[in-house]
């Protein structure tokens, strides 16, 4: 029983990790008023270029850098389109997701050839001395790849930035009241740009986690909707860092259950467990879990004097 629980906690964390990284990044951008449907595409791009970088250089850390760099490039174009060109953020996002799926599949076939699943240098797992011996959660929490510890630090940093710094205040201002923010001298465009870039960096970490830290290879469409799940987590979490992280863990647990329940002899349809995160998010957007308060200017481009 204890072992089962430990495995469950470990796989929940493993499945929730990319969601937490991507969702906390996306949160910043949405608080600033920009919705990145392209999150999925950013993660997939990052997963591919992370794997490519790690494979080409033989150094997984350089792979992570490649992943973040690639996701930042996508984020920069997304920011330019949605902030400067005031394009429809949803349409641009869908376009990026199609493009990312096509481009990564194409490049993978060209570079790695056919369907070979080349193993890439992955990140080592680091055990935290002392804590690893804790019962239940010891091995689950404290024998993870570096990116997990680093990721948690980044998430804390995001929470702190959003809630405790003047930049965080600016982000929330341009997402709720861009006009007033503009009058108060806050650079709306620059703030939104930065927020989208933060999303890109975090999506890059999420993609790197999937290909370099978790699976140790790239497969076509390997994010498989994780980006959309992260978007759902932001909604379910009511645009609040703590609740979004909790939503990611919940979604991770629901996905982990599909492997655990059959092992425990409990028969719940896999499809239902896979569906659960989306159903929960639907209930959340319908206001069933309490009134949601999205940023007022979410998806609305800002243009001075209009």
């Amino acid at each position: 029983m204890e072992e089962t629980l430990a495995i469950f906690i470990a796989s929940t964390l493993r499945l929730a990790m990319p969601l937490m990284l991507a969702a906390s990044g996306e949160l910043v951008s949405e608080r600033a008023g920009v919705l990145n449907l392209s999150l999925e595409g950013m993660m997939l791009t990052a997963a591919f270029f992370g794997a490519l970088g790690s494979w080409a250089t033989g150094n997984p850390y350089l792979g992570v850098a490649c992943a973040v760099g690639a996701a930042l490039c996508v984020a920069a174009v997304q920011a330019w389109l949605s902030v400067n060109l005031r394009a429809n953020q949803l349409v641009v996002g869908i376009g990026f997701n199609i493009l990312a799926l096509g481009a990564t599949t194409l490049l993978y076939r060209i570079i790695f050839g056919g369907l070979s699943r080349e193993e890439i240098p992955g990140l080592p797992k680091l055990a935290v001395p002392g804590l690893i011996d804790l019962p239940f959660a010891g091995t689950a929490f404290f024998q993870q790849s570096v990116i997990v510890y680093f990721g948690f630090a980044l998430i804390l940093l995001i929470w702190w930035t959003l809630n405790q710094t003047s930049f965080g205040l600016a982000v929330r201002a341009v997402g709720d009241e861009p006009r007033s923010a503009d009058k108060a001298g806050i650079p709306v465009a620059r703030t939104r740009w930065l927020a989208v870039l933060i999303t890109g960096a975090m999506a890059g970490m999420a993609g790197a986690f999937i290909s370099i830290a978790d699976i140790h290879t790239f497969t076509e469409n390997m994010t498989n909707g994780a980006g959309y799940l992260a978007l759902a987590a932001v909604i379910f979490g009511g645009w609040n860092v703590g609740r979004t992280i909790a939503a990611c863990l919940l979604f991770g647990a629901a996905t982990a259950l599909q492997f655990q329940l059959p092992a425990m002899g409990i028969n719940v349809p896999t499809a239902f467990l896979l569906m659960l995160p989306y159903l929960l998010a639907l209930l959340a957007v319908a206001g069933v879990v309490g009134r949601l308060d999205p940023p007022t200017a979410l998806t609305l481009p800002f243009q001075r004097g209009k």
Binding site: V91, G95, R109
Partner: protein, 360 residues
């Protein structure tokens, strides 16, 4: 948008209209450059592409069938878009339509019905299921103020997993499990529930869905341009508050608009099942919903634009698949082209508005 377009001077209007065209051409050029960069022969690839898109009766029919599906999704999209609603849930609406059509087609009493009812009832079931699925998003919008982009997207994922569920469980639609190697699929639907072919050529998969699609396209054009309903959709889309003040039943219109968009999706699912695939399996909607959405977006609200875009993407996908088989160019290339087109068109909206704005 059309009203504005009429007031524009010809040159600007032409420029504004040519942007999707330029995006398509530019993206195709990038595609050709990518083929060249990957070291494959460009002429061979083009030949394989054309062969796969138009070459044989089978290729041509398959491309047209694909275009029919994309048109239907696109038509539903522009109808809802007229009311300023963005239906992102085509994929899920296809899925529920496919489930409902399969369930009814496999129900023993149906197959023996006379007068074409064996074909029509599953089609109708699919349409209604899709309408229900789209309607949920409509109700959520007017009741809870939920953005339909988010709700249709989430509903889409739920529907895709419902297909997965249906074909995994013998209690639902999975075929009886006779051995451990029984595939997670439904039984094939009876012949009497399949759509009739359009030609005598047994090679050609072309079916009467094409005629249905053309009729519906005409109907959509008439509804959008000549009916009170179309006018009301536009009024709601332009200024919801003003339309409500003018006494229009805003909430009902929004629900109906999303319901119709969903109905088009559900019908597409039923046609895909009864016309070509003949049994339900996980992922049977295979991206048609998102492709159809793109077609709807690029058409800028025009019915003819939807048909043209659907034909283009129908042939693009078929040609892409053949390019992969015959010239070794991954068919993912067509996704790259498609993504670039969407991004370019979305990014150029501000340019179009500037071109139009001069006359406002």
């Amino acid at each position: 948008m059309t009203a504005l377009a009429l007031q524009m001077p010809d040159r600007r209007r032409l420029l504004a209209m040519s942007i999707p065209f330029l995006a398509v051409v530019g993206s195709m050029v990038i595609g050709l450059l990518l083929i060249a960069a990957s070291g494959k022969s460009v002429p061979d690839s083009i030949e394989a592409f054309l062969d796969g898109a138009f070459g044989t009766a089978f290729a041509f029919g398959a491309s047209i069938n694909r275009a029919v599906s994309l048109s239907l999704i696109g038509l539903g999209f522009i109808l809802a878009a007229r009311a300023n609603l963005t239906n992102v849930g085509g994929e899920g609406q296809i899925a529920v339509g496919g489930i409902a059509a399969t369930a009814l087609a496999l129900w023993p009493p149906i197959a023996g019905l006379p007068l074409g009812l064996a074909v029509i009832l599953p089609l109708l079931a699919g349409t209604l299921a899709g309408a229900f699925w789209g309607g949920i998003a409509g109700v959520m919008k007017v009741r809870f103020g939920t953005n339909e982009v988010i709700s249709t997207l989430l509903l889409g994922f739920v529907a895709l997993l419902m297909v997965y569920w249906c074909v995994q469980s013998t209690a639902l639609l999975r075929q009886p499990q006779t051995s451990s190697s029984t595939l997670p699929e439904s039984l094939p639907i009876p012949d009497s529930t399949k759509l009739a072919g359009l030609t005598d050529d047994p090679e050609s998969p072309l079916h009467i869905g094409l005629i249905l699609c053309l009729v519906l396209a005409l109907a959509t054009a008439i509804v959008l341009q000549r009916s009170t309903f179309g006018l009301r959709l536009r009024a709601i889309g332009l200024n919801e508050l003003a339309a409500r003040r003018a006494g229009m039943p805003g909430s009902i219109l929004l629900v109906v608009a999303l319901g119709i968009a969903g109905a088009f999706g559900g019908l597409t699912g039923a046609i895909m099942l009864q016309g070509e695939q003949f049994y339900l399996k996980a992922g049977f909607s295979s991206g048609y919903g998102f492709d159809g959405l793109v077609v709807g977006l690029l058409s800028r609200g025009s019915t003819l634009g939807v048909l043209a875009g659907a034909l283009f993407f129908g042939f693009l996908r078929s040609g892409g698949i053949s390019m992969e088989i015959m010239a070794g160019v991954p068919s993912a290339l067509t996704l790259v082209i498609q993504g670039l087109i969407v991004i370019a068109v979305a990014g150029s909206v501000i340019l179009v508005e500037k071109l139009q704005g001069g006359q406002r």
